[in-house]
Point group: C2
Chain length 338, copies 2
């Protein structure tokens, strides 16, 4: 059995998360039992939701237990199988965690899924054709419910969720407007992803200034907004929402470190008769098949060209994760493991 | 033609509204043209939305013009008619404004409606069997969508909207929990309106303290919340919302004076996957008939016994209005005009 490097959650953050919250260990992968497969991970996905799991506090999910392997999505290859459902060589996506190998009991539905890497690079099954892509799809189709001609905005637009959101909005005949940090990301959002406009929030010191810039980018206001960050960006967008606008709330990165991040203008919810709705994509398994089909087609035909930030080797995972929480990644943050 | 005392909006408030924003004048009601009726107002309704209309700022409605009669709902009696639709003696509800008489062109649909005062006192057509009642009905039935056994909370529970909301929630098999200011209002809410519990927000200095009291009143959490006030009360309730809870946002009194009143815990929207939705009942004419039917039955059968604060004479309207904005009324705030 191969040696398996792993990252455990060693302590819970007090305020901001730090590398010292994680501890690397090496173990031997256990021998397979009947029904199990051994997967060698090619990529580990790093996602904002992980920060929430690190806390003891009530969240929508059970906390990550201390001393156990950090939770995380992975893609890789079956290297040994004692399951009739998989054979060595199969490419698979699952929740293998922050480690190089995982042993998976395949009799539980949904733990491991075979993927076709003919037209879609395997890493994209952690991004545009995976959980982040389905997240964008659900928020857009089930909460925002876009209509042709409407303006749809998204924060963290160059990221895995944002890029899929904008591309999907365009396919529905909408004006897609991104919000991202820095000229390089904004250029990518408009030139490579095909958004109609992108506003660099780093050019603005407060919500009112950012809101003015959004007015230029959204001359007809904003009908649908996909919220990935919260805080100042959310405030600025709310001031531009049209009557009967819809806000899908998927992330509040600004608040993950326990600092209170209020919504400054809740009266807009009444004034503009907004619907503001939070969701977690894993609670809506019924949409995954259709969503993945549409997203796979967008990537396979080149209509969606997701960008990735790839850190090398499991050792780099903590720093890459902390950097992502600060927006230092550009596109989907991955760790290459093999 | 009778002399008609009127209140005009004389100036827009800077911050808090004051009596000096209104000016009383006396005019003669003009002679009727064909299709018009003259209505003598028995009661004027005072409602929180009027504060929003006093501002120039963008609101969901056009601002009240300066120098014109203040907008307002009225019930009264037709005293002269040149319309085939009404005859002298008819009891009617309409938007007659802050004045003793109004001349109404009856060819525009919805301007004036005959009401039956056999089982329902006329004043209730401005409250439980009028706009406030339908407001409660819409928020409950179309946004909160109550299920038997769930807990439904409402702020300003002793008011016209709140009392109807709680009574309706009870008829749907829900636990109804009110939030009101002071022991007298709370006693009325539980003993006369039949709510299961009522929390006195004036006993609490901050949202966390109020939230603890709500935990006792709502041992199974809160599934639906009808928001009439905003601010600290909203914050406290949000901390108690159950997963997939619904918040119908109808009022933000706390913010009407232009002071910023942030939402302190917007991350709860994500964490608990809430739906938070603003609405204005006048935009949903399709529900009025059914809602008024149900509300009329509740009042007619004594299941809903709305309370009223009645100020005497048009002269008292500004002070009564300003007092209502500060929560000094007890139940529906009216001005008796005849």
């Amino acid at each position: 059995m191969p040696a398996n490097k792993q990252f455990l959650l060693d302590s819970r953050p007090k305020g901001e998360a730090s590398a010292s919250n994680f501890r690397m260990v090496t173990s031997e992968t256990p021998p397979l039992k009947d029904g199990e497969v051994l997967v060698r991970h090619h990529y580990l996905s790093l996602d904002p939701y992980m920060r929430g799991r690190m806390d003891e506090a009530r969240s929508y999910a059970t906390p990550q237990p201390l001393g156990e392997v950090m939770i995380g999505g992975t893609v890789g290859e079956v290297v040994e199988s004692r399951s009739p459902k998989f054979r060595a060589g199969d490419k698979v996506v699952g929740m293998g965690g922050w480690q190089e190998y995982s042993v998976v009991a395949t009799d539980q539905p949904g733990t491991l899924r075979k993927v076709d890497t003919t037209h879609v690079p395997i890493s994209h099954y952690l991004g545009a054709v995976g959980m982040p892509g389905v997240t964008a799809w659900y928020g857009l189709m089930k909460i925002i419910e876009p209509k042709a001609g409407q303006t749809i905005a998204v924060s963290a637009a160059s990221g895995a969720v944002g890029s899929a959101l904008g591309t999907l909005a365009k396919t529905h005949g909408c004006r897609a407007v991104g919000i991202a940090g820095g000229p390089e990301k904004c250029r990518y959002v408009t030139e490579e992803l095909g958004f109609d406009a992108c506003v660099d929030y780093k050019q603005h010191g407060d919500a009112l200034s950012l809101s003015k810039a959004l007015k230029e980018a959204c001359p007809n206001g904003i009908d649908g907004y996909f919220e990935n960050v919260g805080g100042m960006v959310m405030d600025a967008v709310m001031l531009r929402m049209n009557d009967f606008g819809r806000m899908a709330v998927c992330g509040m990165i600004a608040g993950y470190d326990g600092k209170p991040v209020p919504m400054s203008y809740p009266q807009v919810i009444l004034r503009s008769r907004l619907k503001v709705q939070g969701f977690i994509v894993s609670e809506h398994p019924e949409v995954w098949q259709q969503a993945l089909l549409e997203l796979g087609a967008l990537v396979g035909t080149g209509k969606l060209r997701p960008r990735e930030s790839v850190a090398q080797g499991l050792e780099s995972a903590p720093e890459a994760f902390l950097g992502m929480l600060k927006g230092r990644n550009f596109g989907k943050q991955l760790v290459k493991l093999a």
